[in-house]
Subunit: 340 residues, 2 copies
């Protein structure tokens, strides 16, 4: 009888272990959507972008493979993209009209619906860690400006001199944008001209994002951005707004957006995809495609998103020429793409 008891315990133990470790995981990332054309890309530059995406996938995959959480995986992937000057987030952030770098980020836990976000921070090396700190260590969801920086510093985030964010490429982008803006201002009401969206969205803005399903069935989403080149008036886009640029709910999906932020705010993009799944029983791909391919351009916007659902299905939907994107699954399937 005792022998059977031991066997039973061993079988239970194996079953629990197998239930935990056999469960699938998925990580999907993006590095921004826009006018990304193969014709204007050099093979060297393409290689660098793909390597940057691969590094982010590796960071997140290592965590998920070893039984880590979706939340830790998306944060780790975003940190790699923030530290890579190719992407408009963290080190590669674009410049505001005043020649500053103002960063936004947000993160959400699909299990608890807890969320954290920072807007307009200038000295936090990895804004996504500040967003995570807001979520984990405060009862707030969103902090902004100097207040957010004070909180981040008091809660273990790496603080850098704002000059850390300087890159020659982004500075030249600002000079180009200003030149273009002042030329247009000659022909139009100057306030309006300076507020208009760019003709070439690509060099003006970008975002990085990550969504994941871990082996425990938990979803998480995170987004980080350096904002819009030449932006003024303390403009806040969709990236730090829960429901617009970022959303995660274990009952439906995790979503991270990139594109013309104002339209993503007006459509409350990320939450609407979750709601279409919950209330209209649409599948993830149909919900995302309807919003990105139909509703978004119908309103006049463009961009894309990545999303993963509670069953591990994922989608990378965009209506622009390209979107830097990649994914990795627990079964080893992986891919990195740039163009349509």
């Amino acid at each position: 009888m005792k022998k059977y008891s031991i066997l039973f315990v061993l079988i239970c133990f194996a079953a629990i272990l197998s239930a935990q470790t056999n469960k699938k995981y998925v990580l999907v990332i993006h590095g921004g959507a826009g006018t990304i054309l193969q014709s204007t890309m050099t093979p060297e530059k393409e290689k660098l972008y793909k390597q940057g995406l691969q590094n982010a996938l590796n960071a997140g995959n290592t965590i998920l493979k070893n039984g880590g959480t979706a939340l830790n995986a998306v944060e780790a992937a975003i940190k790699v993209l923030e530290d890579d000057s190719l992407f408009n987030a963290g080190k590669g952030a674009v410049f505001t009209n005043e020649g500053k770098n103002e960063l936004d980020a947000s993160i959400m836990d699909g299990k608890t619906l807890k969320a954290g976000a920072v807007a307009g921070v200038t000295n936090i090396r990895n804004p996504i860690t500040a967003a995570r700190a807001v979520m984990d260590k405060s009862e707030h969801v969103m902090m902004s400006g100097k207040g957010a920086e004070l909180f981040a510093a008091a809660n273990g985030c790496t603080i850098v001199d704002p000059s850390y964010f300087f890159t020659t490429q982004r500075w030249n982008d600002l000079l180009d944008a200003k030149k273009e803006d002042s030329l247009k201002a000659l022909h139009k009401d100057s306030t309006k001209a300076l507020l208009r969206q760019p003709d070439n969205h690509d060099y003006k803005y970008g975002t990085v994002g990550a969504v994941a399903l871990d082996m425990y069935g938990n979803l998480a989403a995170a987004t980080s951005t350096g904002g819009m080149t030449d932006k003024r008036y303390g403009r806040i886009g969709d990236s730090p707004i829960i429901g617009a640029g970022t959303y995660a709910d274990n009952n439906t999906c995790a979503v991270s957006c990139t594109g013309w932020g104002e339209y993503f705010i007006r459509l409350v993009m990320a939450k609407t995809i979750s709601d279409k799944m919950e209330f209209a029983h649409e599948n993830l791909k149909d919900a995302a495609d309807d919003m990105i391919i139909k509703k978004l351009p119908a309103l006049g916007g463009d961009g894309g998103l990545i999303a993963v659902d509670k069953d591990g299905n994922f989608t990378m939907s965009f209506d622009t020429d390209g979107m830097y994107r990649g994914y990795v699954k627990s079964n080893g399937e992986t891919g990195i793409e740039i163009y349509k």
Copy 2:
């Protein structure tokens, strides 16, 4: 034959006029939800609150009655509440930890899905007019801090010295809050104690809001707040966030929220009610009650909202002891209430 033509034209003209003027309109407003008990209210104070709500209803009703738009009506109603020091918005704004007044507001047009918001502004007499200016005169949706103030000043909003927002009542509230916070800090980790939500939500925060359906079938929503007493770290609540505190879509409804902002952000409250109507075909009251009476307290939050749908049905749902609220309809029906 000519006589008939004239008659036909006259009938057409009357039909058009009747189609325009016979159509119903509705305006609903709130002045915040919280621990509002009849037992702690004096008859004099109650009269003042009711008069404040009546003034706001009158301002919006005059516009709607004369064929004005829902957008103008909600802005006008909010301006009256912002100018009334009884309500935590505009002149009655609460103080931050640093002894400042930082105001947030947002507005949305259900016809175009255009929206505008300002966060953390300190010198704009009526933040709702700044939110309206962001919507009407820029291609952005959300502006914050000094940038938003600069934009508002350049676009005709009345700028005041920050001392305009000083009221003895709110200053004493801050002193009380600080005393309570420092007492709690003795017993807990100080950072956490200062970040925790208040035991008595009522004196800590409040919001004003308005939603309307005009006689052309257009919906609009607007929300304005002075934030949370003793708030730190540039905290942004749900009021300036499109989808959380404010949403309007002619296909569904217009919503303005009040309460513990963090929970409204995490639930993306206003947009979810719209989505429940659009995708789950729920009626307005069921959608609002499910979110406010079930989902919100289940997550740990509290508060309320006002909403009107495209057919003129409206609801004023809350799970607190009271919510300052009122409505007026084109048929003359009107009401003002405070308690449950």
